[in-house]
Subunit: 161 residues, 4 copies
């Protein structure tokens, strides 16, 4: 279902509160600004810090959780993929954007109001009343598949080995 691997793993701190918008279809789209800092020695032997600011997008349920629980300064684990986009402005100038599209998220450190969350397509959510982020949305459907979710008819004593 794919040709190749495009995987990103980030651990960093939020430079700002998350920003959540909603598509016309009612899907949450949350954007994070996430800092990761690395250190190297330059040729004079001085320590040089360099910070990358990643623009991380979270869709659907994952976007709702991120918008609700994450805050500026919070440390977070993100797993996802890189997406490069190009837009042409009304001035005719092409603009390039690089996003990390998250498919897994874990809040790190103490003070955590929640655990982790992941997987799942945003599109499974029904349309909310939109400008109001759903806090306690009823779960009518099965939760999104998780990595270790072996499916409903799986049981350990079911395995012939």
């Amino acid at each position: 279902m794919a040709r190749g691997v495009n995987k990103v793993i980030l651990v960093g701190n939020l430079g700002n509160d998350p920003e959540t918008k909603y598509t016309q279809g009612g899907m949450a789209v949350t954007t994070l600004s996430l800092a990761t800092t690395s250190v190297r020695k330059d040729r004079e032997g001085n320590t040089q810090e360099r910070t990358e600011w990643h623009r991380v997008k979270l869709f659907g349920k994952l976007g709702e959780i991120a918008g609700e629980y994450l805050r500026k300064g919070r440390q977070v684990y993100i797993e996802g993929s890189i997406r490069y986009d190009k837009f042409t402005g009304q001035d005719g100038v092409e603009k390039y954007f690089t996003d990390i599209v998250a498919d897994e998220m874990q809040m790190l450190g103490g003070g955590g109001e929640g655990g982790g969350a992941g997987g799942g397509g945003g599109g499974r959510s029904e349309r909310p009343s939109r400008p109001a982020p759903r806090q306690e949305a009823p779960r009518k459907e099965a939760p999104p598949a998780k990595s270790n979710d072996f499916g409903s008819d799986f049981a350990d004593d079911d395995i012939p080995f």
Copy 2:
């Protein structure tokens, strides 16, 4: 939905043909023996190779694809998690097993009959006539969610940014 991250990424070659069994519920469980080799210098400066043999388990649809397309010697990319199990034999001796439970798989190199496959719980498959591995099983249901699958009501022109 999880506390922590347990992620394994392997690229290696199969030491044997895959072995596929079926649970009582009809779910395929395929086991691979996958070699990864690393090299280091010992203290005499000699190059030392060391090969790890990973026991990789693939469940459900992913197990069916692996059983059907992979063969001894084939190079493969696996993404999954580590699972430690302990069994007590009838002799009372405890035995320990470490498995890599795959949730993504990509056949590498040329001669490839297929691309990649991943995600999805095994439990979604209906029960096959079991001893006979389904080769051409009809796909009545939506394919398992993939990382970049934004869901059915998602469209680029739907996004407000």
Copy 3:
């Protein structure tokens, strides 16, 4: 210099204080017991937690840092590889062990006394007076290469693009 990829990424909490031993050559070898928890639904729809306990080994400088700064309960990021070992006990019974050999470590969350650390072979350390872990070991040599360390004769204005 290798054939294949054997990569593990863990985020979890320590179940115990780290244990540090020293080789005859004076290299620190620290062992962590690291928990990662995943959640799935069984076929009755009940939420099932499952915790894996990873045995993580850190060698050399990384082992010293881990032994000094990590404590029971602490959340940590580990990157490394899987190593399977087999020993035959004096009773003639074979015993199997699976270790995660770390080559990168990051302490997570607040209360952090330190940042991250990684890379580097343990063997570069000179022999310490051994039972006493070196706290302020003099650094006579260049620090181990890090991912983003482009080397000593590298400078941005040096690159022709």
Copy 4:
């Protein structure tokens, strides 16, 4: 030595032959154009392919190996980190670039002239006669440290466990 994690894992095919340049300090800098393709269903249920083209930079010894052995179409595994850069052109327009800076590389598939290579800072290479890429450069020095390289005074029988 770092704050955060910035890790990228790619498996893809080269869209072009690699391009190698040399810094004034004589370090190789090779650029790859690497394609990864993902598949999703749009809301009409049609299969949509999307290809990301990653610009991958390899420095030093790794850049030399890539320049020498990789060719258009070749499948490759890359591990590295994301780097965002901004340049202001002479027209005063800011331009943004996103690079994947590799610190590990593995040639995949058959026809492979070589195995994998990785780690190590570029700076370890002596200065080549520069405009001429070294094809058969003698290896006077120890190869760069690899993940599983436990260092020169390490031996299995040295470990107290």
